[in-house]
Symmetry: C2
Subunit: 625 residues, 2 copies
Amino acid sequence: MATLESASGGLYLLLITSLVFSSTSNANFEVPNPWGWTCINETCMKLENVGNHASLMTFSKCKLTCGRDGVLWPKPTGITHIGGETIHFPLEGLTLNGIVTPSQEVEDLAQKAYDIFRANLAKMIPLTENKNGNNHNHMSQIKNRTIAINIDISKSGTATYLTLETNEAYVLNIRPVDDLLTSVSVLASTFFGARHALETLLQLMEYDEEHAALEMVAFAAISDSPKYKYRGILLDTARNFYSVKSIERTLDAMAANKLNTFHWHITDTHSFPLYLENLPDMVYYGAYSPKEVYKTTDIYNLVDYGRVRGIRVMPEFSAPAHAGNGWQWAKNKGLGDIALCLNKSPWSSFCQEPPCGQLNVVNENTYRVLGQIYEEMAVIFGPLDLFHFGGEEINLSCWNTTENITNYMREKGLNRTDDSFIKLWSDFQSKAYGLLVTANKGKHIPGILWASNLTKESLLGMHIDPEHYIIQIGKSEIDSQLKHLLQKGFHIIFSNEDAWSLDCGFGSGYKNEDSSCGGYKGWQAVYNNNPTKITINRTSSFYGDLILGGEATLRSTQTDEQSLDAKLWPRGAALAERLWTNPLHNWEPAETRFIHHRQRMVKRGIQADRIQPQWCHQNEGLCYL
Amino acid sequence: MATLESASGGLYLLLITSLVFSSTSNANFEVPNPWGWTCINETCMKLENVGNHASLMTFSKCKLTCGRDGVLWPKPTGITHIGGETIHFPLEGLTLNGIVTPSQEVEDLAQKAYDIFRANLAKMIPLTENKNGNNHNHMSQIKNRTIAINIDISKSGTATYLTLETNEAYVLNIRPVDDLLTSVSVLASTFFGARHALETLLQLMEYDEEHAALEMVAFAAISDSPKYKYRGILLDTARNFYSVKSIERTLDAMAANKLNTFHWHITDTHSFPLYLENLPDMVYYGAYSPKEVYKTTDIYNLVDYGRVRGIRVMPEFSAPAHAGNGWQWAKNKGLGDIALCLNKSPWSSFCQEPPCGQLNVVNENTYRVLGQIYEEMAVIFGPLDLFHFGGEEINLSCWNTTENITNYMREKGLNRTDDSFIKLWSDFQSKAYGLLVTANKGKHIPGILWASNLTKESLLGMHIDPEHYIIQIGKSEIDSQLKHLLQKGFHIIFSNEDAWSLDCGFGSGYKNEDSSCGGYKGWQAVYNNNPTKITINRTSSFYGDLILGGEATLRSTQTDEQSLDAKLWPRGAALAERLWTNPLHNWEPAETRFIHHRQRMVKRGIQADRIQPQWCHQNEGLCYL
């Protein structure tokens, strides 16, 4: 049946082609392509649709069915069986036939995930097609076809928010029942697996431009689960502000890639855009403007927006460095200086980048306020399963030039060596952890810290331990710290700058600083960055589950929402396949799927950057000979 | 009066500030900033708006009035006098009081330019403010104030399209007549100068967020004219397609920067998106899809869209290389092979990048069709004052491996040395020029060619001459060719890749090619690139008017409309000041104006990339200490 459809489509195409080009009227070039595609050696090949090629496939059908993994992204890790035929169907033919879940809450989540899936499918249909009647849909099979979806979540799958224990596996089956009915079944241990299945299902569908109808593979059987538990994107909303809408778009793009952690670097020395009911002065002094603020309702909405898309929205409160503007009120209210070196000049003497700011760790009020901040964050971002403490780029000379601190050191009989200041920092971190537990109603959760001087081998046992902390590796610490951290049993998140810093390569943002950090990381470099392989190379051991995953970072020195999408995507998708699939191969075999996936993201409303000329998309593999 | 306004504004601010933060309700942080600005040493400084600072300026007022050039971009080259006071006014208060022009056609253009100006001004007003009644506009002076604009174009200024002779100078005066009336006068020799004046006027206006009203400088006197005649942007719509809307947006952004040439690299080997009534098969075979086509009406519209914004939309028809897909029909119709090496594999043997394609210069049909193409282009892009022939990256081994060509060489008794092939190319170019003149109804116009082997010193006299050709310098030819080209009297356009290639630095687009071309060019590098200085350094002479100007190029290997704005802007604005103003200084003194100008472009709907954290925008000069 499906074969009949495409054959007649090809014939139809030939007929109007010859009709149209006999006229010279300008409107008449609105005709189908002369091109068709055929699948040879798992590659879609473009040929002219004449003579013995008259039954070539449309581009969409070839992409859906050609190659072992079709155009799935990230590539499933289990069984992937995709049939060679496709069927067309109307959006209205889609039905959620049944949901079996262990609780009403989970059912509500599943229903929402289905609604999102359907809305994303609708986005594939060009706006013009929605309005006009569609003269290609002349076959009643298309008009009357039903796609009946069943979602089945295990009895034990009561989880309603993501943790490091969450099972994200799923099984997806598409089976034709008869000419008019196709059955889709989703099986998963949790809601989170089920929503991933719907993303995969969406990738088995295309909008067929030539027949002006939705199209899907007629048969598929897929089992899938991620290789890493933690698959993240860091967004910094303090150097520059991002609208709630642009963050929602980011979460949507992450969902399309089965990424599961939005690491929200929400505050920094530059600005404090997070409205706190208990500390409204923080945004009053710290927001760039009254409009550039995240309200409490925004946070609730975004946490929920993420959750129904399988994403934990994980807050960071960076301290003791990366804190500055917003704290001006403290002194006025008699709490003393809490942010030291605030906006101090010349910045290069007191911090890594302007403006400077670092918390006063010897002022007891610092801890009082920090407790309040954690408390409110635990509520609005809750329930928390992870919390990011930041902890990078502590500038010891800021403390060393602040009387308040140096007096304290003298009183306590401490010298002013680096080690003493690191001890000060370490004490701060211990107190901060205690405050977090209190804020979290006594519940211990892992805190994440960037690898730093605090996590050096010589100091490690003294300060932090693997029971309470996960270490995120950003810069050169892969060489200097990875091995001893793993030996001590720490869980690790990879964010090595040479591959996963997405803000690099855009020239200098500050006079004295080359922001290029080794230049732009092309998607190939992002894709090839393999935490397991790096670990084995560096340690000659396999640490298995200690490698939690990885995260691409977008610090916003030279980005705001205008270029957000182009900087995050499609490179974030390359990260996603590395972390979900962890393929043995490098980027080369992934190229054609990747190019197509980028196009799919654009149709979904993500302004992903372009990787190649469209000619390379239409002529697979020929740009790499 | 204006002083009174801001003083009372400051007081008002203080009052509601103290009111609002007594409440903890979430909605209440919608309050003014605690911050005000003061102008010290031509720099806006941010201070808390309390006590003796209660009369600090708003940010918008400080930006408009602080510093010799305010926030004008590009900086005027003549007198710039901007008063220290501002006034507020309603959009409805703007009137076009009178237009004096030499013809109805020029008047129509001026009227359109005014309408565009007004529409751009309206864009500055936040959408939310448009709808709601505005309780800050409590002073009747704001509500009732009139800004009366007079435009006066010289009697001799009958030009309705741009040429290299067009006088783009203007004089702009803003004078308060009384409390309720401000007079704006625009004087110019041509429409093109007048529309530039309106862009400058727009930059003397801001939307004042705190008073929720439009604001402009109360007094200004500016005379201005460009240092270079040719100020261009190249966009390539063949490697990837761009919607008409995105090209309009590009023209709008160019207009905001007084750039005057949109160099449209419309076709290439990859695709042929230009619909030609006489050759509809070109798009039939050459367009990426039936939807990715520029219709005749699109071209007319875009040429006009540019013209009313002071921009020539200059077509390029690249030949004999960079021509390929689209030409498939020729063979079918018995014209023989016109595009040689078409999509030939492995591409690296026959062209610079995939897909290959190069015109068959020994097939007489090539010239017949080329004549038809030029003819239609001369109409739809007309009237032409310049035409771009392309002429870069000819691959001699494509010809040398094509039987058709090598047979011809043998018949003519020519050897197959590089020089012989260059002679072949040169003959092609001579014929092409003749065809262009014919297409242009016998009128000679300068053709632009990229510097290449054809313009080498040893060959120059033989092939091309400065009467008919302008040379655009792209790559290494600054070292090897600039001097002899100038000595021979050629007019030159600078597009040296090390500074003005905006597509570089995004990793590899083809396996065998590193597309990074020396990495990303930050705005500082774009700004510092000084054609006059380069010429003096290379030639020890000053060639004055032979240096026509310059052009930034965006080839679309790794760009389409999703990231178009971020790649062109604000770097294109850095180019614009170099070409309009040609300042003696490098980027440093331009930085604060530049950052502000980027924000202005965003308000105008251009998704320009971010250069720095907003903190640097609000705290001028402090990021560069």
